[in-house]
């Protein structure tokens, strides 16, 4: 039995304290946000709210949750996220699975085609002009289709597929299963961890993304994802219009409203990611130790 010396115990304690400090640095900004969203106007105006709400009330949330504009943006973004995630996972699997067959002719060529896109990007304006020519500007599909396959994620899935023993596939083939059936009946069920991990990556990417919407959608405001709406509100884009429409006139209320809006856009992801921790750690690690 090993007995820890005093110096080791002190060392352990020091590392625990460092980790507690790091955790506090991570959490305090969120606590501050939550406190602001729950605080009374008079305390916010006097800048007295730190990490605990003062003059606790749910007014800001009531306003945000009952506002048709936010409701619509929330539902629209949730819908977009769901569609994007499902489509992206399908595309990723469609691309990764055939490429694990070593004898497939043209595999090398396709790999080159894929690798080039990882090194060279045509640039923002060529992409914009393409969207324009494809009639995707001001079109909700522009938020779904152009980003529906990530090569990095494809490589992660492919290395996971490589890890599934060939013998499973071969015995199914001998039993007369088609390749598509092998994918659906063997590879997909065995790859739940990688699907969970990539689903999280794609979903977070879509939920948090606003750059594409900012560039490609200007007039069709009903297609703005939540984050772009948030950007416009936080940065007072069209401030007069917003204030006039939504009673954002009282300054203190405005601050708690903003905070509540940010909470509203953040909480869904913060509720989900801890449960998928095991999977996304595997996903990140797999991306690093490519075959």
């Amino acid at each position: 039995m090993k007995v820890k010396s005093t110096s080791t115990k002190i060392g352990d304690a020091v590392f625990v304290i460092i980790c507690i400090l790091i955790s506090i640095i991570c959490i305090v900004p969120m606590l501050n946000l939550a406190a602001r969203s729950l605080s009374g106007t008079e305390f916010l105006i006097r800048h007295e709210v730190y990490i605990w709400p003062k003059g606790f009330n749910l007014e800001a949330y009531q306003t945000v949750l009952s506002d048709a504009k936010y409701q619509r943006a929330f539902v629209w973004t949730a819908f977009l996220t769901l569609v994007c995630t499902l489509l992206s996972l399908t595309m990723t699997a469609l691309c990764a699975y055939p490429l694990i067959f070593p004898k497939l002719k043209g595999r090398g060529f396709i790999n080159v085609l894929i690798t080039i896109t990882m090194f060279f990007n045509a640039g923002t304006i060529p992409n914009y002009l393409l969207m324009s020519d494809l009639h995707l500007l001001e079109n909700p599909l522009v938020l779904i289709i152009p980003a529906c396959l990530s090569i990095y994620n494809m490589i992660i899935m492919r290395s996971f597929f490589y890890g599934i023993p060939d013998s499973l596939r071969e015995s199914a083939e001998i039993d007369g299963a088609s390749y598509i059936k092998v994918l659906l009946k063997i590879y997909v069920p065995l790859s739940k961890p990688v699907f969970a991990s990539l689903a999280l990556f794609y979903a977070v990417g879509r939920w948090n993304g606003y750059g594409d919407a900012l560039m490609y959608i200007k007039t069709q405001k009903q297609f703005f994802p939540l984050q772009l709406l948030l950007y416009n509100i936080l940065n007072n884009v069209n401030a007069v219009e917003v204030a006039a429409q939504e009673g954002f006139m009282q300054p203190g209320l405005k601050d708690s409203l903003k905070a509540a809006t940010v909470m509203f856009a953040t909480v869904p992801i913060l509720l989900i990611y801890p449960w998928l921790q095991r999977y996304f750690i595997a996903g990140v690690t797999m991306g690093a130790v490519k075959e």
């Binding site: 352990d12 590392f15 625990v16 980790c19 790091i22 955790s23 991570c26 959490i27 305090v28 900004p29 946000l33 602001r36 730190y50 990490i51 595309m91 469609l94 691309c95 699975y97 055939p98 067959f101 004898k103 002719k105 043209g106 085609l113 990882m118 090194f119 990007n121 045509a122 640039g123 923002t124 304006i125 914009y128 002009l129 393409l130 494809l134 396959l149 494809m154 390749y179 598509i180 994918l183 939920w207 993304g209 606003y210 750059g211 900012l214 560039m215 984050q227 948030l230 950007y231 936080l234 903003k258 953040t266 992801i269 913060l270 990611y273 921790q277 750690i281 990140v284 690690t285 490519k290």
Partner: protein, 327 residues
């Protein structure tokens, strides 16, 4: 019949090597796989390769609603001047500023942001309570899941000059308020700090995996020899994750000309544009808002080509060192 190649070895014997199958056989056997690949390949061709056609805009005079082929080449004083817009870009002080800022911010991100996950992984590795370690990890991953719009909003409240939490603490400790967001130099510090905050936890995942794969017998042997905590960290853990560190460092150097759009766009403000404007935000402002397509396409092409050069160099170095590249 499989395709074969015949070689003759030193003793004059023929060696027959199967080199795979013919296209016809492959199609017959694997037609389903080709079917599956149709959509992804169509996607790559349309959304990754077709945009390259539009690069030619950098060398032309852009006319609205005119097919690319009919657009006239760029001209200076009625003389064809293909590189007109590249010259213009390099005479444009705004672009030169954006270029400088891109490299500067990326370098600072690298210097501050690269060691942070390594240090954090080393600290986590010293924790002996599994539960506690897991809680710390979960908390540290959280910032990675926040969008830049949200992080920018958090930063603007925490670092506000009058009433931000950070300045209130500084005042409490007897210091003067600091203009973290309004002063260009301080803004750069805040920007880099936000990057470290967002990424140190997430970035540690790779290093933790590398640490986990170190042979535990090494630690036991070192303990027997009387090595302390820091000796083990220095002589076993760090050498154990060195390959991972080297590869990630080189690949990160390869992205020095790159640059996301969402982070600088969300964090910039009008007071600090001299330090905050980077190439991606410049292209957005001048290209998409002011519709100066040839100039910004030229800028984008310049960025892509230089980026490609850096990446290929990084990749080559990585392979020379006997490590994997990104392909």
């Amino acid at each position: 019949m499989a395709k074969v190649k015949t070689y003759t070895d030193d003793n004059g014997n023929n060696i027959i090597v199967k080199t795979g199958i013919t296209w016809g056989q492959s199609f017959k056997k694997y037609w389903q796989l080709y079917l599956l690949l149709l959509l992804p390949i169509a996607y790559l061709l349309i959304f990754k390769y077709t945009p390259m056609r539009y690069i030619v805009v950098a060398f032309k005079e852009y006319k609205l609603n005119m097919p690319l082929k009919e657009m006239p080449w760029a001209t200076t004083n009625k003389q064809v001047d293909y590189f007109k817009y590249f010259k213009k870009a390099f005479q444009n002080p705004d672009f030169l500023r954006a270029l400088r800022n891109t490299v500067k911010l990326n370098l600072l991100d690298l210097i501050c942001g690269f060691p942070a996950p390594i240090i954090f992984a080393l600290i986590l590795n010293e924790l002996c309570f599994k539960r506690f370690k897991k809680v710390v990890q979960t908390i540290a991953y959280m910032p990675h899941f926040l969008s830049w719009v949200i992080i920018a909003s958090l930063v603007s409240h925490l670092f506000a000059t009058n009433d931000g939490l950070v300045n209130q603490m500084i005042n409490y400790l007897g210091g003067e308020s600091i203009s973290f967001l309004g002063d260009p130099t301080n803004w750069v510090r805040t920007y880099v700090a936000a990057g470290v905050w967002q990424n140190f936890g997430w970035g540690s995942i790779i290093y933790l995996a590398a640490i986990a794969s170190i042979n535990t017998e090494l630690y036991e042997a070192a303990s027997v020899d009387g090595a302390g905590r820091f000796k083990k960290m220095w002589h076993i853990t760090l050498p154990g994750i060195k390959p991972t560190i080297v590869v990630l460092l080189i690949m990160n150097l390869g992205y020095i000309m790159g640059g996301g759009f969402e982070r600088p766009f969300a964090m910039k403000n009008n007071l600090v544009m001299e330090n905050a404007e980077v190439i991606s935000t410049f292209v957005y402002k001048v290209g998409i808002q002011q519709l100066k397509f040839p100039l910004t396409t030229a800028v984008g092409l310049f960025q892509s080509v230089v980026g490609l050069f850096f990446l290929l160099t990084a990749n080559t170095i990585s392979r020379k060192l006997g490590e994997r590249g990104i392909w």
